[in-house]
């Protein structure tokens, strides 16, 4: 393109970059230009390339946003197609005996369902992950229930937690023979009214 003998900085070869390569410069940028490398910082060719990489990165962030914004929302029939394709029985988990030596039991998944249903009695609360500490497969063994919960902004959290704990305890007592020695509730999310995606970017 140009007939001059001077190196064209846009060739981005080792000659223009004073012995460096474009991916070395990208790595340097990734590392926050630290530790400082004077052979890069003092090279005019490298500085041109670094500026270009920085601009490319800025455009890349904008591209990611624009790409996502250009995609249509998932339509209902497509979502239903996925839901009908997943194996519902994959979450049964361990079998919890109803009594010592009993030939009746309840699955871990069903107990989680019982625990989650407690949220219906405590307005605004949502239950997240639910775990058991202790051997739930041996009847009568002491078990702790660990529950994560989400509450709406502005709610009195200690009150909600107490009510949720009582509700879970009552339901477990009614529907299982688990020897529950404690129900630990961790409020890990406070929902804002307009918080649509839940995760900051």
């Amino acid at each position: 393109m140009n007939a001059h003998d001077a190196p064209d900085p846009w060739r981005m070869g080792p000659e223009e970059l004073d012995g460096h390569t474009i991916d070395e410069l990208a790595d340097y940028l990734d590392a926050g230009r630290s530790p400082a490398d004077p052979t890069i910082d003092e090279s005019a060719g490298c500085r041109i390339a670094l500026d270009a990489l920085v601009r490319l990165r800025g455009l890349t962030s904008e591209l990611i946003e624009a790409d996502e914004a250009a995609e249509p929302a998932a339509d209902d029939s497509w979502v239903q197609g996925i839901l009908s394709g997943i194996a519902l029985d994959a979450r049964a988990g361990r079998r919890i005996p109803l009594a010592v030596g009993a030939d009746a039991g309840i699955t871990e998944g069903a107990v989680r369902g019982v625990i989650r249903a407690a949220e219906n009695a405590v307005a605004g609360v949502l239950i997240g992950r639910c775990r058991f500490q202790g051997d739930i497969t041996a009847a009568g063994e002491p078990v702790r229930v660990l529950v994560e919960a989400s509450v709406p902004y502005g709610a009195a959290i200690p009150d909600l937690v107490d009510r949720l704990r009582a509700e879970i305890g009552a339901r477990l007592a009614a529907h299982t023979t688990l020897n529950v020695e404690g129900i630990d509730i961790t409020v890990s999310d406070v929902r804002q009214l307009s918080n649509r995606t839940g995760e900051g970017r």
Partner: protein, 186 residues
């Protein structure tokens, strides 16, 4: 939509993915709606219109449902879904060209732009989009995995089944090509 569904939609990823891991399909549906556009956009960049993006994302979600109980931190579900998406997309790429020399692949024919893709974007972004589509497929795949997917060089090599030096070389050429084109947009 019930109050309950509304609450789920505004709950954070840890709560929603935690419930889905525990078997709540309503929570899983919220994850599907929340991240399908992001995953489609990512798959579309990797594949550049050469395969059905919907199928890739659907596949990714079905795998995700099966593996969610193994996800240690449900709060990281977003980046975890991105990983599964690129794996599914690259599986298709590799199935379509099992033994080709990655250096000899020409760019795919430009994608026909669908109405959904014509949202207004600033000129530089549109140019970057076009430049990406013009890259030879292996270069584009490396670049997208690195810059959109956040893969390390080793992970790219592993995913594409090429030596580390090849992955680095493809990425270097992609970067160089993009910034040279970008200079012409200025």
């Amino acid at each position: 939509m019930s109050h309950h569904d509304d609450a789920l939609e505004t709950a954070d990823d840890a709560i929603v993915a935690g419930r889905a891991a525990d078997g709540d399909t309503d929570a899983f549906a919220v994850l599907v709606r929340r991240y399908a556009p992001m995953m489609r956009a990512y798959a579309r960049r990797i594949l550049s219109g050469t395969a059905d993006v919907d199928d890739v994302v659907q596949d990714a979600f079905i795998t995700a449902w099966g593996e969610l109980p193994k996800l240690d931190d449900p709060g990281r579900v977003k980046s975890w879904l991105m990983r599964i998406t690129s794996r599914k997309a690259i599986d298709r790429v590799r199935a379509a060209r099992p033994h080709t020399d990655l250096d000899d692949i020409d760019p795919a024919a430009p994608e026909v732009t669908s109405p959904a893709r014509q949202a207004e974007v600033r000129a530089g972004v549109a140019e970057l989009s076009a430049a990406l589509k013009a890259l030879p497929a292996p270069q584009r795949e490396c670049w997208v995995l690195r810059e959109i997917g956040g893969y390390s060089y080793e992970e790219i090599a592993d995913e594409l089944g090429v030596p580390l030096s090849t992955a680095r070389g493809l990425l270097a050429r992609a970067r160089k090509d993009l910034i040279v084109r970008m200079e012409h947009w200025r």
